[in-house]
Amino acid sequence: MLACEGVNAFYGPIHALKDVTFAVERGTIVAVLGANGAGKTTLMNTISGLVRPRSGAIHLDGRRIDRLAPERIVRLGVTQVPEGRQLFPDLTVAENLRMGAYLRRGAAVRQDLAAVLERFPALKDRTRQLAGTLSGGEQQMLAIGRALMARPRLLLLDEPSLGLSPILVRQLFRTLGELGREGISMVLAEQNAYLSLEVAQMGIVLETGRVALQGPSPELRQTDRVRQLYLGVRSGDVSPQGGGAPGGKGT
């Protein structure tokens, strides 16, 4: 469905993506693993059209999209849930959701709004509350709900677990698993390698902008590199790495 071929992109003067090549098959989740500054966010923003690659090509269903404006890419069915939620803090929950469906109109939007509120019941009683006043977990639900309002075929998630408590992280990944089973393809950039590889069928490891490893999740999980760098020595660690949240060790 999505294919990146030899993508080079710059973040300011930094060569943030170096010859990145990978593909997302329809209906699959691809985890993008890597430390801070490995290029995950730049990769997301390049696919979304916010960053224009210096060279290389990105194709969506065979159509080249790396020269399109961000709104054109959204229209083609690619929606991003950006790092740090990036909600509209002084819009209400309902207004945030409606903005997610900005390019759509008609009765289907209202149905989808109801469906999103059904999926995230915590938001249901808060539709008139300002997004900036929600808790961290609710904000993440809203960010995902807002993206779903675009009816994406491909969902890009940039560090969705950042700053969430271990319980909320588990809940989040359960939601992502559900969405995957409903047929939404995903690119999931995460520092939490353990849970990401659990929901994803494929994974790639970015190191300083380069694809250091890629392959099916079970295989990737066995490699020493992933084990040491991103899973910690004990494979049961579910705490978001570098997210600053303590606890969750050895569960």
Partner: protein
């Protein structure tokens, strides 16, 4: 005496308020403070003057024409100047708006000359008497227009998709892009709206201050003051700030001994400084420019 001063103050303040609305509409979505707003409004008001005198259009049609011209001018400034300098530092963009203003001043001087023109009142019938308060029909019109504009903007920003998208863009530009909002188009729209309303304000001010190349400048300075008083990002704040400004100015002028009464404008600005010391974000301003989330 008190009632009269308050009513006249409200009428003057409404004008500052509408002027300020135009400025803030542009500032909120593009984060550009349009230093050329006064000149651009002047230019649009001259268009109304042209339609009135040369083409003998009726007053409402001329005002509408000026609003359309203002909107087109705003869109043109955005597409033709601001868009190209998009990646320049913010200070350079401010200077660019100032530059556009100076160009318009020169062009206006070349077309219409440098002498002051009289500009007709929309309504020049007998004033209304409410008890011992005298209300000119023009003042009544200004108050009604202010209420209407406020209402229209409220409905636009609360209930229309494009209005909510303008708010979204002002709060988080990048997220707005990720929703598929064409933020460039939203910016152009804001410029058009800001100068369309600016042109309306210009046509209502012009009968009072007359029309020449610089007559909008002092009004615009007070509009900026009104905007600052209201918090600079708040549309209701701009109107409230304008009204307060007008009333306080008038009360000071009316009640102070005649030796210092002419200092009423100075007093207003001192008061604004005091307000900003006590409430740095203005009376109705947002604490942050958004983006916490």
């Amino acid at each position: 005496m008190l009632g009269q001063l308050v009513v006249s103050g409200l009428a003057a303040g409404s004008l500052y308020g509408i002027m300020a609305l135009g400025l803030i509409l542009i500032y909120k979505t593009t984060h550009i403070l349009n230093f050329g707003q006064g000149d651009m409004v002047m230019f649009a008001t001259f268009i109304a003057y042209l339609l009135l005198t040369l083409f003998r259009w009726p007053f409402p049609a001329a005002v509408l024409g000026a609003m359309v011209a203002g909107a087109l001018l705003g869109a043109l400034v955005d597409r033709g100047v601001m868009r190209w300098a998009r990646n320049a530092p913010v200070t350079s963009l401010f200077i660019a708006t100032l530059g556009v203003g100076m160009i318009l001043q020169a062009v206006a001087g070349w077309i219409w000359g440098y002498d002051t023109k009289p500009f007709p009142y929309a309504l020049r019938g007998r004033p209304l008497f409410l008890g011992d308060v005298v209300l000119r029909q023009h003042d009544l019109l200004v108050l009604v227009v202010t209420v209407l504009i406020s209402l229209v903007l409220f409905l636009l920003f609360k209930f229309t998709k494009v209005g909510v998208a303008m708010r979204a863009t002002s709060q988080n530009r990048r997220a707005a892009q990720l929703m598929g909002i064409n933020v460039g188009r939203i910016g152009t729209l804001s410029w058009a709206l800001g100068l369309g309303i600016g042109a309306l304000a210009g046509c209502l001010v012009a009968p009072i201050v007359y029309l020449d190349l610089t007559s909008m400048i002092l009004v615009m300075i007070k509009a900026i003051a009104a905007a600052v008083l209201g918090g600079f990002t708040s549309l209701p704040g701009a109107v409230v700030g304008g009204l307060l400004l007008g009333v306080i100015e008038n009360l000071f002028g009316g009640y102070m001994p005649s030796a210092i009464a002419p200092l009423k404008t100075t007093f207003v600005f001192v008061l604004i400084i005091v307000v900003l010391v006590l409430r740095p974000h203005g009376l109705l301003g947002e604490r942050t420019a958004g983006g916490h989330g």
